[in-house]
């Protein structure tokens, strides 16, 4: 688009005004009012930074078998008498540093979650726009599929899709492919809510005068949908996306925990918990406890942010 050409002279001032407008907004005000939300936001940012900087922060590359020493296996956390530097949170049975594994697992959990949400949002928004704008048979077909899918919990659908895709692809899959399969199955499990919201909004906007005017001057349907109707649904979509990010992370963790997600060669938090669960009875509690704690905090903080965003953007609800 041509905005990039003319943007340079005014960009700084418009950015500043955007920032000041944001500071004046209700959203910012309600954010500052809620201490819990601020704590949650702090934790979420911390987790995201930790995931991005995993390579720098972790003393060991948990995916590199060459760095693992069996001598260092099953070490307790560093504050225990038997703990050893640099293994802050102890090690697992392969001598893998739990802290490093959590950082890298966090990265994978977040990646699958964010990609899954992006995929389901794109799919849901597109289907919602199409269903709402064109109506008729297309609408009925899409919304019937949505109804049937909504009858079943997302985790079941994700498991089914995961199983079917693996069966179609066949054979042993490498970690990268498995990650894509996870993103695909999570994406397909969560599109319905976006589609319903967007469709509802399209049905409202479609009959307004500006859309009629845009049609009259001969703008193509795609332009009307994307430039005129889509901006109206940003708020609700953002709320759904935030809450779904927590759900997507839980779903990935659950699939990995069940043994149908990320493999042990490239563990996510769910995989780490699955591994650690085997050592629960032999007293090596740290192998399962720390990844579980990390997952719980991540999900809780994102959920709190989502709740706050929903209340802030739509004070009428609840």
């Amino acid at each position: 688009m041509n905005t990039s050409i003319q943007s340079s002279p005014i960009s700084s001032s418009s950015e500043a005004s955007w920032l000041s407008r944001f500071r004046d907004s209700d959203i910012w005000a309600s954010f500052k009012r809620s201490k819990l939300t601020m704590v949650a936001a702090g934790i979420a940012v911390l987790f995201i930074l930790a995931a991005i900087c995993a390579g720098v922060l972790s003393p060991q590359d948990p995916f590199d078998p060459a760095q693992l020493e069996l001598l260092n296996s099953r070490l307790p956390p560093i504050w225990d008498a038997e703990g050893q530097a640099p293994f802050l949170l102890g090690t697992d049975e392969q001598g893998r540093d739990i802290f490093s594994a959590i950082l890298h697992g966090l990265r994978i959990s977040l990646a699958v979650g964010i990609l899954g949400v992006a995929f389901s949002a794109t799919l849901g928004i597109a289907l919602g726009l199409i269903a709402g704008y064109f109506g008729g048979f297309t609408d009925t077909l899409i919304m019937r599929i949505a109804d049937v899918q909504l009858t079943f919990p997302a985790i079941l659908i994700a498991l089914l899709i995961d199983g079917v895709v693996k069966s179609v692809l066949g054979g042993e899959l490498d970690a990268g492919t498995i990650l894509s399969v996870l993103v695909f199955s999570i994406g397909l499990s969560f599109w319905v809510q976006y589609a319903r919201t967007v469709r509802g909004s399209v049905l409202v906007e479609k009959n307004k005068d500006y859309v009629a005017a845009a049609k009259l001057i001969g703008l193509p349907a795609s332009t009307i949908l994307i430039k005129h109707i889509l901006p109206n649904v940003t708020g609700p979509v953002l709320v759904i996306a935030t809450i779904n990010l927590a759900l997507a992370i839980i779903t990935e963790a659950t699939l990995s925990f069940l043994g149908t997600g990320m493999p042990e060669t490239m563990p996510s938090l769910g995989t780490l918990i699955r591994i650690g669960n085997n050592y629960l009875f032999s007293g090596e509690w740290w192998i399962v406890a720390f990844p579980s704690f990390a997952l719980a905090m991540l999900v809780l903080s994102i959920n709190l942010l989502g709740d706050w965003l929903r209340d802030a953007l739509n004070p009428k609800l609840r």
């Binding site: 009858t151 693996k166 043994g259 719980a296």
Partner: protein
């Protein structure tokens, strides 16, 4: 009323038909049914022979009809990994799942309503605030984490309860039950809490907010003006009016209870259908996955139907005025 139920039944059949198409597609196209019969080193000619004898060369609609008829008769085909009829496998494991789901629901409903009523009536008390905080955590945490936590606390650390399996079961006809032995009952406790916790927090939150809502209504004020006892007002009038949303939630959530039993059964190595399904996904055993999908769809649809009918029992207004589906 009758027309309403008939329409609901037709909708249910529609959903089942749609799921049947998906299930059939999985069965037919995602996995090769011939693999059910022959081993990997069977020559191609013999495979072709089996293919024809199974009717896999027939037109797809014919195959689909045959699949549906078989499904209705309870014939789901043969598992790749167990080499056994799937209907036998499911029948063997269904009691475990249903007993677990039943206990979880009873737990969720009983404690959810109790805690919800309490925190609705005593909004400011310490216990109510504690319930609210716990429910936030309960709703956020993944099921399997709660299971692990409970196992660590009550099985590993305290050693009070078993951490896996069903304990001793008793055979009653083809049904195996854990209700009749002490170890069977003990084994039910942790999985039921794990599975029911999410539903419990949901029910608690709904009962609480409904209680607050109902207590503000005119008929509660009028009930007080009539001099009824607090007890009669809270439990006779207010609670009954909160039950409709509770029925909705319990009904809709029963499906999730069945689905989430997949996770709970894996955590506790509970020999039910969910564990069978997870093993099927792990081993890419498509016929079991397809059969499980059909079975779960059937259970969901029947529950939804039952909930619709239950509404009319609780709410007299619906008995005479149902025109639109709720």
């Amino acid at each position: 009323m009758v027309a309403f139920i008939i329409r609901r039944v037709l909708q249910a059949v529609g959903v089942l038909f749609a799921v049947g198409i998906i299930s059939f597609s999985m069965f037919r196209f995602a996995g090769d049914p011939v693999n059910q019969i022959v081993s990997i080193d069977t020559p191609a000619a013999q495979r072709e022979e089996v293919r024809r004898s199974l009717g896999l060369s027939d037109p797809v609609p014919v195959q689909f009809t045959r699949y549906l008829i078989n499904t209705v008769r309870g014939d789901f085909g043969i598992s790749y990994q167990f080499r056994q009829p799937i209907s036998d496998l499911l029948a063997e494991r269904m009691p475990a799942t249903l007993e677990l789901a039943f206990c979880a629901t009873v737990f969720a409903v009983a404690f959810g309503i109790l805690m919800g009523v309490y925190s609705g009536l005593r909004r400011e008390s310490f216990l109510s605030k504690l319930f609210q905080t716990l429910s936030l955590i309960g709703i956020s945490l993944p099921t399997f984490l709660i299971g692990i936590l409970l196992i660590y606390l009550f099985a590993v650390t305290l050693g009070w309860l078993p951490s896996y399996g069903r304990g001793d079961t008793v055979r009653v006809g083809w049904w195996t039950t854990g209700f009749l032995t002490l170890s069977g009952l003990m084994a039910l406790i942790l999985p039921s809490i794990t599975l029911g916790l999410f539903q419990m927090t949901l029910i608690m939150r709904i009962v609480r907010s409904e209680m607050l809502e109902v207590l503000r209504t005119d008929y509660i004020k009028f009930a007080r003006a009539r001099g009824l006892t607090t007890r009669a007002i809270h439990f006779g009038h207010a609670l009954k009016n909160t039950l409709i949303p509770v029925i909705t939630i319990v009904g809709l959530q029963l499906g999730s209870v069945i689905a989430f039993s997949i996770i709970t059964e894996t955590v506790f190595q509970w020999p039910g259908m969910g564990l069978l399904f997870v093993q099927a996904v792990q081993n890419v055993d498509i016929p079991i996955m397809a059969a499980y999908l059909m079975l779960v769809a059937l259970i969901f649809v029947m529950i939804n139907l039952a909930v619709d009918i239950l509404y009319t029992v609780v709410d007299p207004r619906l008995r005479s005025t149902i025109r639109q589906p709720v």
